[in-house]
């Protein structure tokens, strides 16, 4: 079954290219330390250089090499995207499964809470939550990247929750559930062993789109100054500092935005390919 899905996925040439691009980005970020520059060393005498052989993307207003900063920033953005999506899916699947399987009062309460979270103006609440968590003095909550991961997950679990709940409402009427119950299967056994494996397809597709959205959200928050705190570079915060210099050195603003754009495009293409690969009813039309 997995092989069928993989085969259908790679029929989309674009999706294959997208995966290659994404893998390349991950490797580039992982090996960011191989550049001769540091992302945070300041050399004010060297500022505002255009792209040249020494500095591929030029330097910013403090003389830092933009290329290196973007590679390190990629680490943060990609990590935040990945981890926040995982966390969000974990939470969402839990709530959605409980809600969809048991129905009744539990469903009612959980859905009310989900609806409440869905009506939040997310960006506002993210900013408030971020400021709130940053001012706590809890020792394990010092890292602003961790805080960003938590708050993005806290405001995006509703989408997988709704999805999983819908799937469970349909799947729990299926015969294999009745059979398992007749054989004495406990609820948790049925949920984990029987129903959940059938949900993996839509969850994965929704997860990729969520990851793209998480990257955009993290960059946006950092751009506003409420995400990852300086001096840790992230694509959004590079954009923010670049905005002040946009008339003097527009290239600094170009590259981080370009990276976000490419990453999000790649993830979207992958998501598209995955959706077609998992969906048994799509007829692939050869051009």
């Amino acid at each position: 079954m997995a092989r069928v899905i993989l085969r259908r996925f790679f029929k989309h040439k674009l999706a294959g290219i997208a995966i290659a691009v994404l893998v390349f980005l991950v490797f580039a970020s992982a090996f960011a330390f191989t550049t001769p520059y540091s992302p945070t060393d300041q050399e004010p005498t060297n500022s505002f250089q255009k792209s040249n052989m020494d500095h591929f993307f030029g330097t910013d207003e403090l003389g830092r090499d933009v290329f290196t900063r973007i590679l390190y920033g990629g680490r943060v953005s990609l990590t935040v995207g990945l981890l926040s999506t995982f966390l969000s899916i974990a939470l969402g699947v839990l709530i959605g499964a409980l809600s969809g399987y048991f129905g009744g009062g539990i469903d009612s309460i959980l859905m009310r809470i989900t609806d409440a979270f869905l009506t939040f103006p997310t960006i506002f609440v993210l900013i408030i939550l971020g400021a709130f968590l940053r001012e706590q003095q809890v020792p394990w909550l010092k890292n602003s990247v961790l805080i960003v991961i938590i708050i993005i997950a806290a405001l995006s679990w509703m989408w997988p929750a709704r999805l999983v709940r819908g799937l469970f409402l349909v799947l729990r009427e299926r015969d294999f559930v009745t059979a398992s119950r007749a054989l004495g299967g406990s609820s948790s056994h049925i949920i984990i062993q029987h129903v959940l494996p059938n949900c993996i397809g839509p969850i994965v597709v929704s997860g990729t789109l969520q990851m793209a959205s998480a990257i955009i959200t993290e960059s946006g928050l950092s751009y506003l100054g409420f995400g990852v705190q300086p001096p840790t570079p992230t694509w959004g915060s590079i954009l923010a500092t670049a905005q002040n210099q946009v008339f003097r050195a527009p290239w600094i603003a170009f590259y981080p935005g370009l990276m976000i754009f490419i990453t999000v495009m790649a993830i979207n293409y992958i998501g598209d390919g995955l959706r077609d690969a998992f969906d048994p009813y799509v007829i692939h039309i050869e051009k």
């Binding site: 009506t119 506002f124 609440v125 408030i128 400021a131 506003l224 100054g225 754009f261």
Partner: protein
């Protein structure tokens, strides 16, 4: 129909309740309350601070503080801004029309462009037009709003200039040129760039969604029946198919409203548009919690209101819903 509307409105009350509790807890536990400057002042004694706390009711148990706050809010009083010492009501009331102008204009433009593009793409699937549009919308969906905004500023302020006057084509800041407040044409001129930045992503997304929605519907039996009965192309597409394809779009728009305000926040910040998003950002930088709370509550109420409108529109267009 009225019972349906009333039912929906009643359903939103517990949601508002939950939201307000969460927000209240967040804000009350955060440092930087109204007494921060007093606490830092070495001339103010401990007893004086305690007296002020008593007066402001900060020592009462939390449920009491909450009910007082909710009571205030329901009466329409949202508190005082810490930074500006003005009632939050006034500050928000000043900015709401501006934000609504921006968001409304973007929404209008989005519908104007996304619906025809979606329909045309569905009418001629896999044609050149469809292929070009799909690629463009894919790109449009992936561009971050803030990058697009910055890019527009660079293009229209640095690169392209009006060859006759040497001035930029479109203004890049604020809502009106000085001295022309309230003039419609001037506001429209200032609206061009922010609205473009804001709408592009949505046009991309909604047109794609409408296209796939329409394509699903065009395979339905009732469309085939309409065609067999000899209905003209326009009737089939616009009356039968579109009416059904719009429904998921309404649901999508209703669910997407929070991101609408997010986009507005970014655009308002970049283009110095004096709206609620900008107010929120300034307040957040200054830890002005009453303003933050007021903006969030008002926005949440707005979102809920639009959700109800969307539900009503859905109920009006799809009679099956009313009999649930």
């Amino acid at each position: 129909m009225t019972t349906y509307a009333l039912r929906r409105i009643l359903q939103t009350i517990p949601i508002l309740f939950i939201i307000s509790i969460l927000l209240f807890f967040l804000v009350r536990s955060a440092p930087g309350g109204p007494l921060t400057s007093a606490r830092r002042n070495p001339n103010v004694t401990k007893e004086q601070i305690q007296a002020m706390e008593e007066k402001l009711g900060l020592n009462d148990p939390l449920p009491v503080q909450y009910s007082r706050w909710i009571g205030d809010m329901l009466k329409g009083n949202l508190g005082q801004s810490i930074k500006f010492h003005r009632p939050v009501n006034d500050m928000i009331a000043e900015r709401i029309p501006n934000t609504l102008t921006l968001v409304g204009a973007s929404f209008f433009l989005t519908l104007l462009l996304a619906v025809p593009i979606g329909i045309l793409s569905a009418r001629r699937p896999y044609s050149l037009f469809d292929y070009v549009m799909t690629t463009i919308t894919f790109i449009g969906q992936s561009i971050p709003v803030y990058w697009l905004g910055l890019g527009l500023i660079v293009i229209f302020y640095v690169v392209l200039k009006n060859p006759f006057t040497g001035l930029p084509f479109f203004p890049v800041g604020g809502m009106n040129t000085r001295g022309k407040e309230g003039e419609l044409l001037d506001t429209l001129w200032h609206l061009v760039l922010p609205v473009t930045a804001l709408s592009l992503g949505w046009i991309a997304w909604y047109s794609r969604f409408l296209r796939s929605s329409m394509m699903d519907i065009l395979h339905e039996d009732y469309v085939r029946t309409a065609r067999a009965k000899g209905a003209s192309s326009n009737t089939v597409y616009y009356k039968h198919a579109l009416q059904n394809a719009i429904l998921p779009l309404i649901t999508l728009v209703a669910l997407d409203l929070p991101s609408l305000f997010a986009g507005a926040l970014f655009v308002e910040t970049i283009f110095s548009w004096p709206g609620m998003g900008r107010l929120f950002w300034d307040a957040a930088k200054g830890r002005d919690y009453p303003v933050l709370l007021g903006v969030v509550m008002i926005t949440a109420v707005l979102i809920i209101f639009c959700n109800i409108l969307a539900d009503l529109a859905y109920g009006w267009l799809d009679p099956r819903v009313k009999y649930e």
